[in-house]
Each structure stands twice: as structure tokens, then as C-alpha cells.
């Protein structure tokens, strides 16, 4: 470039020239300033933190709903009395309320269903209307309660504002009570008096005290009665069954015409006759107790103003909701919890307790643990310690891992087909031929259900155990071998104790998965209502073939199979809460055991 004397551009060219060599000596790539937001990683902090927050929010929300609704179910609410503008009087409890804001379409629908006046009332309130879910006595069929949505506009006279209509409409008279009955569910109405035999109490306050004294007395008589009806009569029936089955067994063994069979058949008939006599005696006895208990009646008046009498014998509990203060309500609350945790269910599972379901859930989970942990640990030991690590073992490992992803209902189908219909039927044929076509083990039961769950959770245990085994330092194994220990001695004395906390982790995960599982249980023996527990005072005391109840199935049953689903919703939440508490308790006890083991085996590693 020799454009020294040129026009406009020349000075620049001259000025550029000396810069070029200097630039060449510097690094070719200019340094970039790394101050961009993404380089600092600030957005990632927000992204990761935000994800965690959203996750936590959902978990906390779930727990909050379950907790708040589950815990409030048993709180005795006020019994309210009000009249709707069609002239009906209602007495009942408010379950829930909601506020709706209606647009023109909504108003048109209101008009078509409830009349123009209702629509006008809502429009006058700016389209906003409240409604409440009220549980009250079904007067047509006193065995049932009903739940209805009561709209505010149904409470007011034409032209009256619906704003605050509810507050104006309701009253909570002192003697409006809630009575829980054994067979027929709840009753709402006015308590007016009490009759105990010939003595009649007209003053409600005195009558109430007299009634409570009688109810307390009836409690022990009722358990006496139930003992006869539920157990002793059942025992007689089983005696007869046993004698008959013995006779069938003799027939199968000795033939129809053998004298042994005739003797056994005659004996069975004898037993049957005796059982029939004894049963009718017992029934009379039970009836006598019941008749003695039915001499006391509650004198009450329902919402329609009709006087009724309720036998004190039928009453579980009478709750003077509007009279009792906070501590009285607290007493009712814990009384209901007590019943819930310890009693059998009644009224299609929507009332009463869930004790059999709690028992079933815990029993099935523990049985599952006893089945899956030894089995899984042994399998993992072979995979990790004995098998030659190669392609085959890798394939087995992948297969086991994939087993964890198989839908649980598939395990249910397998359990039904394999445990119940193959092994169970085989057991029946071998050991109980006298049952003939009836199934004992050949149908769903707590044992088969536990085995099905064990199969379901087996991959979890195997994977966790394998990881725990591989985490045992090789130096420890070598040390043991160098002392002259055999492989099994090394495994049993060094490797397994050291891996125990990890194995416990597997067990905890298995519990977490297994305790909440419902789908497979529906196929292998979970019942809406199991006649008796798998453990009782009846020889041989453990009955692994019996069907069982399970909290998870109970929830499903309440939510979807209940005749009165609105009434069952609070119980769904309570049962969910209970199931969560049980699963968490089982897990926590596992974690507690594990932490003790950890302290023992891996203290202060160098």
C-alpha cells in the first residue's frame, strides 16, 4: 500500500499500517467477557429452586387437604333447623358450602329449574349465589340420610334479598340432636324426652341424663349379645360343618356303603341336631337380652313435626351438638375416633370403624416383608456374590429392574392365576379333599395377597440389596478371606452385616410401595367386608386363607361403591389420612431400625 498522497481515505490507511504488525503479535482471539447471565448460572438456580418449590407445594397441598378434611370428619357440627320457601322444614348438618357467580346462561338454567323468581333473586344479588350441602334425615326412608344442595334463593320469599339469607333462615335450637344408630345410620331432630320402662322423663335435660345412664348400661349387654350372635352361633355352625366334612372325608376314603361312613354320617346328623338345638337356645338367649334392652326409648320429633320413638338399644351415641360446649365436642370427637379405630364397620362401611382394614393392611404388609426380604436378599446374594458376572447376569439384572415397571394389576392377575388357582387349588385337593368343590386356599386370601405383593416388590429389594452388597468394600472381603474364612462365612459374617442398612432401605421402599397398593389386592382376596379376621381365637388361630380388608381398598369402596357417596366423602379423607399415617409409621419404624444398624456397623469409618 503506497497511497501516501491520496484523497480522503489516505490518512486512515497510513494510520492502519503500523497497527497491523502489532496486532499480529497479540493473541488472535480477543478475550470474551463472561458476564452473561447464563454463564453465571443464575437462571439455573431459579429453575432448580423453582422446580423444588413446585414439587413441595404439591406435596404440602395434598397433605393439607387430606389432613384438614380427614381430621375434621368426626368433629360434631351444629345441627341447624331452617325452612325453605316451599314450606319444607329441614334439620341437619352442613357438610360444605360453595359460592357461584352465574352468567346469563346460568341464570336461564336457574329460571328453568327453580322458577323465574329464583333467577330474579340471584340477578338482584349480582348473579352471586351461595349453596350449602346439607345432610339430613330422609323422612321417606328413615334407614337413610340424604344430602341436598340448598340454594340461598330457596330460602327467601319472593322479592326478598338473598344476601345473608342463610344467616336469617337458620336457627340452632338447644335440643336439636344428632343420633347415631347401629342399623339405620344417623337421625336428626328434636330430643323431647326419654322412657325407661314405666318411667317417663318429659324434661329434656333430665331425660338426657337418664338416657346416658341407660346407654352406658346397654353397652355391656350389647357386647354380651354380640358375643352370642357373632361368635357362639358361628362356632356351632362350624361344629356342624366340621362333622359333615369329616363324614365326607370318610366317604371319600372308605366308600359310600362302608360302616365307617354310616357311623360318621350318623354322627354328623347327631351333631347337626344338637347344633340346631343349641343354636335356637342361643338365639333365644340373645333375643332375651335384646328384649330386655328394648324397654327404653328416646322420645323424639323429626323435622316434619312427627313424634317418633327410637329404642335406646339401637343407639350408638346421641350427640347434643348445640348444647355441648367445646370440651363436650372434643369428647364426642375422640369418642368417634376411638370407635373408628377399634370397631367393625357398619352401614355399608360408611359408618363405624375400620379396625379390620387396619389389621389387614398391617398384617399384609408385614407378611409381605417376611416373604420378600429373605427371598430378595438371597436372590441378590447369588447375583452379586456367586454368579459369574457376564452377559447372562446383566440380562437377568435388566430383567429384574424392568419387573419393577410392570403395572401392579398384572401382578394381581398373576397372583390370582398362580397362587390361588394353581397352588391354592392344588393344596385344597391334597389336604382338604372333603371340601369337594368348595375352595379354602383355592381363592383369594391374605397369604396369597402377601405373596403377590412380595412378588411386586421383589425388584425393589433385589436392586437395593445388590447395591448394598456392592458397596461393601472389597478390602473387608479380602481381610476375611485372608483369615481363612470361606465364601459363605465371609458373606454371613462380614458382607451381610455391613450391607444390612442398605437391605433395610430396600425393605423400607418395599413397604412404601406395597402398603399403598390396591389394584392387585382386589383380585387376590381384598373384601369390602370380611366376615372375620385372619387371626382369632379359633383353632388353628392363624387363618392365612381367609379374605381380608385393606384400607386402600376401603377407600376405593367408600369413594366409588358407596350407596351414599356424598355422605362417604368425609370418610374417604379420614381413611386416606389413616392409611398415610400407617404407611409412614411402618416406614419410620424401618428407618429407626436402619439407623440403629448404621450406628452399629459403620461408625467413624476412616
Amino acid at each position: 500500500m503506497s497511497t501516501t498522497e491520496s484523497k480522503g481515505g489516505a490518512p486512515t490507511a497510513v494510520a492502519e499500517d503500523p497497527r497491523k504488525p502489532g496486532r499480529a503479535s497479540r493473541p488472535a482471539v480477543p478475550r470474551r467477557r463472561t458476564t452473561s447471565l447464563s454463564a453465571h448460572g443464575e437462571p439455573m438456580v431459579w429453575l432448580t429452586g423453582g422446580s423444588l418449590a413446585i414439587g413441595l407445594l404439591m406435596v404440602v397441598g395434598l397433605l393439607w387437604i387430606v389432613l384438614s378434611r380427614g381430621l375434621s370428619t368426626f368433629w360434631p357440627g351444629e345441627v341447624v333447623r331452617f325452612s325453605t320457601n316451599d314450606g319444607t322444614t329441614w334439620v341437619g348438618l352442613v357438610n360444605a358450602s360453595e359460592t357461584r357467580t352465574l352468567d346469563e346462561d346460568g341464570l336461564a338454567e336457574i329460571a328453568s329449574r327453580y322458577g323465574d323468581e329464583a333467577a330474579a333473586a340471584v340477578r338482584a344479588n349480582g348473579g352471586v349465589t351461595e349453596r350449602r350441602n346439607v345432610r339430613s334425615l330422609n323422612l321417606g326412608d328413615t334407614a337413610k340420610t340424604r344430602t341436598d344442595w340448598i340454594d340461598d334463593f330457596a330460602l327467601v320469599a319472593p322479592g326478598e334479598s338473598i344476601d345473608g339469607a342463610w344467616a336469617r333462615a337458620i336457627s340452632t335450637p338447644e335440643w336439636e340432636v344428632e343420633i347415631e344408630r347401629f342399623k339405620q345410620g344417623r337421625w336428626f331432630g328434636t330430643f323431647e324426652g326419654f322412657r325407661d320402662g314405666d318411667e317417663v322423663y318429659q324434661d329434656p335435660a333430665r331425660a338426657w341424663d337418664a338416657m346416658n345412664a341407660v346407654l352406658a348400661e346397654l353397652g355391656s349387654k350389647r357386647s354380651e349379645h354380640n358375643e352370642i350372635v357373632e361368635h357362639e352361633i358361628g362356632r356351632q355352625a362350624r361344629r356342624m360343618d366340621d362333622a359333615r366334612l369329616d363324614a365326607v372325608g370318610v366317604r371319600l376314603e372308605e366308600g359310600e356303603d362302608s360302616p365307617e361312613y354310616r357311623a360318621a354320617a350318623a354322627h354328623a346328623d347327631e351333631v347337626a341336631a344338637e347344633v340346631a338345638r343349641r343354636t335356637s337356645e342361643l338365639q333365644d338367649e340373645a333375643q332375651a337380652i335384646e328384649d330386655a334392652g328394648r324397654t327404653a326409648q328416646l322420645l323424639v320429633r323429626n323435622a316434619a313435626g312427627t313424634a317418633e320413638e327410637i329404642d335406646a338399644w339401637d343407639v350408638v351415641r346421641a350427640v347434643p351438638s348445640n348444647r355441648q360446649g367445646f370440651f363436650g365436642a372434643l369428647g364426642t370427637y375422640f369418642g368417634r375416633w376411638n370407635e373408628y379405630l377399634r370397631a367393625d364397620p357398619r352401614k355399608a362401611n360408611t359408618e363405624g370403624g375400620v379396625y379390620p382394614a387396619i389389621f389387614g393392611t398391617v398384617a399384609i404388609t408385614l407378611l409381605m416383608c417376611f416373604a420378600v426380604v429373605p427371598f430378595g436378599v438371597l436372590a441378590a446374594l447369588y447375583l452379586r456374590e456367586y454368579a459369574k458376572q457376564g452377559v447372562l447376569v446383566s440380562i437377568v439384572r435388566v430383567a429384574v429392574n424392568n419387573l419393577a415397571g410392570v403395572p401392579s394389576i398384572v401382578f394381581g392377575v398373576f397372583g390370582l392365576a398362580f397362587f390361588c388357582y394353581t397352588i391354592g387349588v392344588e393344596i385344597d385337593d391334597l389336604f382338604y379333599p372333603e371340601l369337594e368343590n368348595k375352595a379354602k386356599f383355592g381363592t383369594g386370601g391374605i397369604l396369597w395377597a402377601s405373596f403377590t405383593l412380595a412378588l411386586l416388590t421383589l425388584p425393589v429389594v433385589i436392586v437395593a440389596t445388590e447395591e448394598a452388597l456392592s458397596a461393601v468394600p472389597g478390602s473387608m472381603r479380602e481381610g476375611s478371606y485372608a483369615c481363612g474364612a470361606t465364601k459363605w462365612q465371609t458373606i454371613s459374617r462380614i458382607v451381610l452385616p455391613r450391607a444390612l442398612p442398605g437391605i433395610m432401605t430396600g425393605m423400607i421402599l418395599a413397604i412404601a410401595r406395597g402398603a399403598g397398593e390396591v389394584a392387585p389386592l382386589m383380585l387376590v382376596g381384598a373384601m369390602k367386608l370380611a366376615p372375620s379376621l385372619p387371626v382369632d381365637g379359633e383353632f388353628p388361630y392363624l387363618h392365612p386363607e381367609r379374605s381380608f380388608m385393606h384400607l386402600g381398598f376401603h377407600i376405593y369402596d367408600l369413594a366409588f361403591q358407596s350407596p351414599d357417596s356424598e355422605a362417604a366423602i368425609p370418610m374417604v379423607y379420614t381413611t386416606t389420612f389413616l392409611l398415610i399415617v400407617i404407611v409412614v409409621t411402618l416406614n419410620l419404624s424401618g428407618i429407626w431400625v436402619r439407623s440403629r444398624l448404621r450406628r452399629r456397623f459403620s461408625e467413624g469409618a476412616v
Partner: protein, 362 residues
């Protein structure tokens, strides 16, 4: 001072081959070759000729060892009969080429009664050979050290003694060892019984996840010993033997995992001597320990000497010179020189041994 010769450095292939071929001059075997060591494939002897440029280098080993608390040493001038050559190839080169080299074994070794004899021992990891024609006699009641650079096969050799290498699938061996006359690699040997006769202590302390007491009596437990009195007696004797008794006698039931590293290693030694082993193998027992703990272990080895026959692998020259009676120098899977520790460190017969022990090589 001229620098150490770079004969062991990478040299062009041809040059190495030339020198290697020249080195293979068949000569009558020297008296130092032990009878147990059969004749190698290519017997050879390095010319007994002093290499000038090396002779000018003062032996650093003498100075270093003299400073340490090892065997009494004095500065000994190079001896005339040392097998040094000016132009001959280094033993390192011969070995690096995979050529056989007979172990230079000092005559003193032959006079000792052996507890362990190794003869013509070869070992392969898969296709790779790791030990070549090892032959050595480990004297009874003495401490024998195995030294050599990393990967030379010291630990492999040690682990062959109690057949720990059986645990590795790819290992294949040839040759045999004898423990007090009993074969180790014979076809009818019960490995479990064999290991009970041999104690071993590893590089990293590896106490078991159980109490101190149970750790010590582990080898008795696996034999089914239940007599509490016997167990307690053995426990105390072993812990006293390992110099740990006074520190732990009040907490024998506590977890061994809670001890310090040095205590754990002494516990491992106590565990190893609880079964009264015929030979005690120590695989770099101090490499994971601090200097104070190392000192205690070395004192302990000194005390165990005489009662037990000890074979120790170490990377630490000072440790080998301080604690051992005999030292074997290994290189690339071959045993180069084996003799009394004093000789190996002060008057090695091979220049290469001296290079290694003085730190000029490796």
C-alpha cells in the same frame, strides 16, 4: 557430579537389541545361584568390569542409610569385584525387553532355614505375564522385605503366598511354593486351611464391622471356637502382641470402626497373629498411615521378629532398611537381587539395585 546414566531410558529398538544380544554371554553359574532356583532359559553373567562413569559416583545409599536408624552401616567404598560394566546393557533393559535374567542371590540366604520357598513361579493376568520365574527362600523368624518400583509385582507375589489371587478370575499361575515343606499350589491343597496358616495385613486398614474383640478372634470364630476363656486369652495375647492392649482393653466391645487409622492397622496385625500364622504377610502396611503410626508399626515389626516369619512389601527404602533382615529387589515381574538387607543397601552386587535403593532410579 555427572548425572546417573540413562541406560534405562527409552533407547531406539535396534540399539537395545544390539546391547541385549551382546549381554547374553553364557558363563558358568556363580556359587551364589541357589540350588532351588533352576537354570534360567538363557543363563548369562555380566562382565565383572567396573564402568568408569559409574564408579565415579559416590554411593548415595551409604549416606542415606547411615543417617537412618537402620542396621549399623559405614561408608564402604565400591568393591572391585562388583559386577559393573561400562558398555554392557543395564539389567533394566534386559528385563524391559522381556528377556530372562537370573536372580542375583547372595550366599547368606542359602544358609538360612526357609519357612517359605518359591520356585520358578510365573503368573499371568489374562494374557499379560506379571511374574517371571520367581525363586526365593524366605528365612524363618526373619523379616524379608520386597522392594521395587510400582507395578513390579511385589504385591502380586505376596498375594500368591496365601493364594489371594485365586479370587481374581483372570489369574493363572505356574510353578509352586512350599510353606514349611507343604505345597501351596498342589492340586489337593485346601485353600481355606492354607490361609489359616498364613496371616496377612493389607495396605489399607480393613477392620471388620464388628467389635474390637470379635475382630481379633475372627479366625477362631470361623473355626467354631466358642470357649469364652480361650477367646479372651487369644484376644489379649494378640492385642498385646500388636501393642494395642493397653489402649483398647477397656473398650473391647466397642466398634472397631471407631478407632484411629494406626490403631486399626495394629488391630489388623493382631487379627493376623491371633491364629499363630507360620508366615505373616504385610502388604505396604504403613502406606495409609501418618509418620507416628508408621513408627509404631515398625517398632511392632521389630518386636514380632523372631516369633514370626514376616514377608513385607514396602515402597519406603528407609522402612525396608530399618525393619528387614533380608531384602529382595524386584523389577517388572522379575526378582533382580536378593540378599541380606545390609548388603542390598550398601554393597549390592548389581549397579541397578544400587541405583534403585539410592533413588537414582524408580
Amino acid at each position: 557430579m555427572d548425572s546417573s546414566p540413562d541406560t534405562h531410558d527409552d533407547t531406539p529398538e535396534t540399539g537395545v537389541r544390539d546391547r541385549g544380544e551382546r549381554a547374553m554371554i553364557p558363563t558358568p553359574r556363580g556359587p551364589e545361584t541357589p540350588g532351588g532356583d533352576s537354570a534360567p532359559d538363557t543363563p548369562m553373567e555380566l562382565e565383572p568390569k567396573t564402568r568408569d562413569r559409574r564408579a565415579g559416583t559416590p554411593p548415595r545409599a551409604a549416606a542415606t542409610s547411615g543417617a537412618g536408624p537402620g542396621p549399623a552401616v559405614q561408608k564402604i567404598p565400591m568393591q572391585a569385584d562388583r559386577t559393573l560394566r561400562a558398555d554392557a546393557p543395564s539389567v533394566f533393559d534386559i528385563v524391559a525387553e522381556g528377556k530372562a535374567f537370573p536372580t542375583r542371590i547372595h550366599p547368606e540366604v542359602a544358609s538360612e532355614e526357609p519357612v517359605l520357598e518359591v520356585a520358578n513361579f510365573d503368573l499371568w493376568y489374562g494374557a499379560k505375564q506379571a511374574l517371571y520365574q520367581i525363586g526365593m527362600r524366605v528365612p524363618r523368624g526373619k523379616v524379608t522385605a520386597l522392594i521395587g518400583p510400582s507395578g513390579c509385582g511385589k504385591s502380586t507375589l505376596l498375594r500368591c503366598v496365601n493364594r489371594m489371587n485365586d479370587l481374581i478370575d483372570s489369574v493363572r499361575v505356574q510353578g509352586d511354593m512350599h510353606l514349611n515343606g507343604d505345597t501351596i499350589y498342589g492340586p489337593k491343597v485346601d485353600v481355606i486351611e492354607l490361609r489359616k496358616r498364613i496371616g496377612m495385613v493389607f495396605q489399607k486398614p480393613n477392620p471388620f464391622p464388628m467389635s474390637i474383640f470379635e475382630n481379633v478372634v475372627y479366625s477362631l470364630r470361623i473355626d467354631g471356637e466358642r470357649n469364652r476363656a480361650v477367646l479372651e486369652e487369644v484376644c489379649e495375647r494378640s492385642l498385646r502382641g500388636a501393642g494395642l492392649w493397653d489402649e483398647v482393653k477397656d473398650r473391647l466391645q466397642e466398634s472397631a470402626m471407631a478407632m484411629s487409622g494406626g490403631q486399626q492397622q495394629r488391630l489388623c496385625i493382631a487379627r493376623a497373629i491371633a491364629a499363630e500364622p507360620e508366615v505373616l504377610l504385610l502388604d505396604e502396611p504403613c502406606s495409609a498411615l501418618d509418620p507416628i503410626a508408621t513408627g509404631r508399626i515398625e517398632d511392632l515389626i521389630e518386636e514380632l521378629k523372631g516369633t514370626y516369619s514376616i514377608l513385607i512389601v514396602t515402597h519406603n527404602m528407609q522402612q525396608a532398611s530399618r525393619t528387614s533382615d533380608y531384602t529382595a529387589f524386584m523389577y517388572l515381574g522379575r526378582m533382580i537381587e536378593y540378599g541380606p538387607t545390609g548388603s542390598i543397601f550398601l554393597r549390592p552386587e548389581l549397579q541397578e539395585t544400587e541405583d534403585y535403593v539410592t533413588g537414582r532410579f524408580g
